[in-house]
Structures are given as C-alpha cells and as structure tokens.
C-alpha cells in the first residue's frame, strides 16, 4: 500500500471511529413498479429501484448528522421498450445547527441535498451546495447556493435548454448534468395579514457552460420572483395564492428574452378528519409579443400521461383524498389541460382531460403497495390508459 493509500485508510478509520456506531441507522429500500399502457399499442413497462441509505448523528444530541442515499435504477420504458440502468448518489447531506439560542435558530445543510422552491414548480430536485434555514421571531428564512453540474444527467431534473436534454439522453451509467449555478432566498412571515402567511422568494440560475468552456447550442440564464399568500378562509378551509414572475435571457443564434409568469390558486377543504378535497388552478403566460413560455429550472410534467410541462398551460384540477382506515388511502383527481390562449383562430383552447385514481395500502410497516389507474382523453388524439402496481419493501 502506498503512502496515499495509507493516509486514506487512516482517515477512513478516524472518520468511522468518530461516528457513534450504536446510533448508525441504515437500510435498503426496494421499489418495483409494473404497469400496462393502453395507447396505440399495448405495452408493458417496469420501474425498479434499489436504495441503500444510512443516517448517523455526529453528536450526542443528534443536532448534527450525516445522511447518505444511493439508488440503482432499472426501467423498461413503455414507449421505447428499452431497458435502461443507471446509478445515482441522491443524497450526501451534512446537517449542522451552529446557532440555537433563545430567539433564533440557524441550521445548515451541505453536500448533495434536496431543495424546492415554495411552490415546487420552479425548482424541485437534488443539488450540490449548501442551504441555510433560519427561524426567528419575525418568521423564517432559507438561503441556498448550489450547482447542478455534478448530478447524474439522467436524473438531474434540471432540464432547460436543448443541451440539457441532449445530456440527459446519454446511455452512460453516470454522466454529468447541466452546468448551472443556482441561488435561492426565501422569507416567510407567518400571520402577517390576519391569519394569512406571506412568503417572498427570489430564485435564479446561471448557465456556466460558456464560463467553463463547454460546447453549447443555447445558454439560458433566468431569475424568478415569487409571492405567495396563504391562510384559512373558514374553519378547515385553506386558500393559497401564488404568483411567479420569470425573467431571463436565452442565447442561441441571437439573444431572446425569457419573460413569463405563473399564477396559482389552490383551495384545500378538510371535510372530515380523514377526508380532504382540493381544487387548483394554474395559469402560465401564453407566448406573445412580450411573454415567452414559462421555463422552470426543474422540468416536471403537468400530468401523468399528459407529459408536457407547465409552459403555455392552463390547468384546472379537482381532487380528493380519503383515508377510511390508517392502512388504506384512496385518492382521485381530475385535471383539465388547456392552452392559456387561442392558438389557432376559431379553435378551442381545450387540450384534454386526465382522470387519475390510486389506492395505497400499508401491508406492514416495511411493505407498502400502490395501485394506480390513469385515463387521458385528449381532444384530437386517441384516448390512452395506464394501470400500474407498485410495491415498496424495506429491508
């Protein structure tokens, strides 16, 4: 063993000697989903995941801790029929609480962490960096700085430009993702107007491909400002309204502006102790002389079989969750998808409706089952149906 190897071995021994081994918690989670897709052709698909995770406190009071999670993915996609396999380090998070006095508490997460904006529609993914969480008498503050370029391109979620999609289409076991620097600052003021909370958030991402000397077809830099107001309208009835303003520049053959917005209103009614009914409307700017398509950092499809994102979209949704007993959950929702404005003169803005239902069973504490059924009824195409069964087992 050379000197470098000996140093590494000593460091590893020191690290594990410092960990309180009695408090080390670890596990393996196996998730297997099989489904059938009734479209133009009937096709089977599978999605299998094996996660190995561990958590350990780094002190006696468990205020500082380490959490690691890695996943092996193996999936047979319905449309292509190809079986793909890849690995990902989902989480490697060191959590510290450097400030915890009467009147203030500041926690810090660093490493590969999960993050999301307050709506979940701008960014909602893993990222390499650090996020501080502060709790004060006036409210809460979050601040994040991160980089997406070390994530596995096949699981990054950060899909904004043509280059990002090309990177994500790799066959490599591990390919580096979009080189984007991301920053976010969030301020929450509880009960600022009656019992309503106000949340203000600023999020931005800067495409580093040019700065790092990488080849590119497009460069996209964007910033988002969000305001959200939420609180009770009546006992057990809660309203959330959010507005996101996006601005940015897309550089390709020339510069294009990326001004857009997303407006959201959601009503949650807890009809009983085990029943919730909700309705939600999301409207994003239509492309015109001033606005472009809403372009979030993390791509998310707006439906299950409706795979388009939230750009150029008007979505109205109603749904419910009923938990008759603690070991069974029933959920049902109906979503209508529309264009935010007339695309072709005289044509309807309606695009299609999706009906989604699911049953979740807690068979044992270490075994959960979920059955799902989706029906998509597009305006101009044939209907599509999908049914699946998913089992999640903890070892």
């Amino acid at each position: 063993m050379n000197a470098f190897g000996r140093i590494l071995a000593c460091l590893a021994i020191l690290l594990f000697a410092a960990l309180p081994s009695f408090a080390l918690d670890w596990g393996i989670e196996l998730s297997n989903e099989g489904g059938i897709d009734f479209g133009d052709d009937t096709q089977w698909y599978t999605d299998n995941q094996a996660a190995l995770w561990l958590t350990t406190p780094l002190d006696r009071t468990n205020t500082n801790s380490l959490a690691i999670e890695g996943r092996l993915y193996g999936a047979r996609e319905a449309e292509s029929g190809d079986f793909t396999t890849y690995l990902n380090l989902e989480l490697c998070r060191l959590s510290f609480v450097p400030v915890a006095y009467e009147g203030k508490r500041i926690a810090l997460d660093a490493g590969r962490i999960r993050t999301a904006d307050i709506t979940g529609y701008v960014i909602n993914q893993s990222i390499d960096g650090a996020e501080a969480h502060g709790s004060f008498a006036f409210g809460n503050v979050d601040a994040l700085v991160g980089y997406t370029g070390l994530l596995n391109a096949r699981k990054t979620g950060a899909l904004m430009s043509q280059d990002d999609y090309i990177d994500a289409g790799t066959d490599d076991l591990y390919a580096l993702g979009a080189k984007r620097l991301v920053g976010k600052a969030t301020f929450q003021f509880p009960e600022i107007i009656g019992k309503f909370d106000l949340i203000a958030e600023a999020t931005g991402q800067y495409d580093l491909r040019d700065a790092l000397g990488s080849d590119y077809l497009q460069l996209i830099h964007t910033a988002y400002g969000t305001l959200s107001l939420s609180g009770p309208l009546a006992p057990r009835v809660y309203l959330t309204t959010s507005g996101i303003w996006q601005t940015g520049v897309l550089t390709a053959d020339k510069d294009y502006s990326e001004n857009a917005y997303l407006a959201l209103a959601r009503l949650d009614w807890f009809a009983g102790s085990k029943t919730k009914i909700f309705t939600e409307v999301i409207y994003t700017s239509a492309t015109n002389d001033y606005f472009s398509t809403f372009l979030p950092i993390t791509f998310q499809s707006a439906g299950e079989l409706f795979t388009a994102g939230y750009g150029d979209l008007f979505k109205a949704q109603v749904g419910g969750l009923w938990n008759p007993v603690d070991i069974v959950n029933v959920d049902l929702s109906c979503r209508a998808f529309m264009y935010p404005k007339e695309v072709y003169e005289g044509e309807s803005i309606y695009r299609g409706t999706e009906i989604f239902g699911g049953l979740t069973f807690l068979i044992r504490n270490d075994l959960r089952l979920r059955c799902e059924g989706v029906m998509y009824l597009p305006k101009d195409e044939d209907s599509r149906y999908q049914a699946s069964l998913k089992a999640v087992f903890d070892l």
Partner: protein, 234 residues
C-alpha cells in the same frame, strides 16, 4: 420627621403596588400512579384533596391521570407526564397561572375566577401556549377545543390557534394549522428514505404548498424541444 417620611414612602409603595395573593391548587381526582415531589426532593403519592403550592412538580405514570383545580381553571395531567406549577397568583384584576410541561400532555379548561381576567400559560422546552377563556391540550403539539390560543416557539415565533385547530413546532418555527390537519390524516408515505425528509422550516410549516417530490425528473424526460418560443431582444 425622618421616620414619618419613611412611613409615607412605604405607604405610597404599598398603595401603588397591586396586591398579589398566592393561591393553592387542589387535586380533584387521581387515577393510577401520580406523585408529587416534596421540598426535600423525595416523591410522595398524590391523592384527591391534596393542595399544590407554586413550585410543585407532578409526575404521572402509565395509564395514570390527575385532575387539578387551579383557581377556577381545571388542569388534567395526562399519563406519562412531568410538569411543574410555576405560578398561581391572584392579582387585583387578573389570575396568573404558569405551568411548565417538561414532558407529556396536559389539558386545560381555563375559567375566570371572581370575574377576573386569566393569564394562563403552559410552557414547554419548545413552545409556550398562552390562553384566555379556552379549553386546550398541550403536549407534543397544541390542540384547541374552545377559544383562541397564542402558541409561541423558543425562537419567539407566534401563531394563533382557534377552536378545532392544532399547532406544532418544527425547528423553532410554528406550523400552520393545515400542516397538522394533513398529518392527522395519516397519509401513507411510499418512500421513507432520508431523501424524502424535509428540513426546511418554510416548506414544513407553510400551508398548502407543493411538497418536495422525491421522484421528479426520473424517467419522465420529454423529447428535445426544437422550437424557440421566446422573442428577440431589440
């Protein structure tokens, strides 16, 4: 003359300071193993009719409960609870009661004594519930049965809970009532790995916001977008 000046000053202080009388709590009912710590530090069994002075510490065992009358208010000490009666004082126009809840749950029915206002608070290591004319239960979280309760975390952050609402604290922040209603529904989480944990007090306490999705971006990559939908900067 000097003595008379001193007498006048003492009289003035006595008149200006509102009189405060220490009240004693009274144990109404006891079931199971309920003990009180005496001044010497020893524990003695508590029985109905015993009186409680300020500073008394009470402990209840498994399947044990005690009901205590504090002025006109009724305090029910739930099983596996340890609490201290910090203060029970009747002032000129208020009755001040303060309970420190070290661990467990207490239910309080706060009533007015002699038509006076109530300053009733239950403190715990993570939060303080301040109430006036209310029925509530405090422990791992706050449950409001009647009236309104101000719930204050160790960081000084406050929210108000109304009848039928529950409040909790997470990392020094007080959750919105909608979070507790959602938790009480016992939604089955398919994934229980560290990745599904939410460490942001904002995402954990804000009402009705999108949850952190564990599976975003996986196997849902759409085809490359060829068209540029933006418009040109002049």
């Amino acid at each position: 003359m000097k003595l008379s000046k001193i007498c006048i000053v003492i009289l003035a202080i006595a008149v200006s300071v509102a009189p405060a009388f220490a009240l004693a709590g009274q144990v109404v009912t006891v079931s199971g193993k309920v003990e009180m710590q005496t001044g010497s530090g020893a524990w003695k069994p508590l029985k109905a009719g015993d009186s409680l002075e300020s500073g008394s510490m009470i402990s209840t065992g498994f399947k044990s409960e005690a009901t205590i009358k504090l002025g006109a208010s009724i305090l029910t000490v739930r099983p596996l609870t340890r609490m201290t009666l910090n203060q029970l004082v009747e002032k000129e126009d208020t009755v001040e009661t303060e309970v420190f809840l070290e661990v467990g749950n207490v239910k309080a029915e706060v009533n007015s004594l002699n038509g006076k206002k109530n300053g009733f608070s239950v403190k715990s290591p993570v939060a303080t519930a301040s109430v006036r004319g209310t029925v509530l239960e405090v422990g791992d979280f706050l449950v409001v049965y009647e009236g309104t309760v101000q719930y204050k975390s160790v960081t000084g952050q406050t929210r108000h809970g109304s009848a039928g609402e529950q409040l909790n604290t997470i990392s020094g922040a007080v959750t919105s009532p909608v979070n507790q209603l959602s938790n009480a529904m016992h939604v089955i989480a398919l994934n229980n790995t560290p990745m599904s944990e939410n460490l942001s007090p904002i995402l954990a306490t804000a009402p009705s916001l999108a949850p952190v999705a564990a599976d975003v971006g996986a196997a849902t990559i759409p085809p490359v977008i060829e068209t540029v939908t933006s418009f040109e900067i002049n």
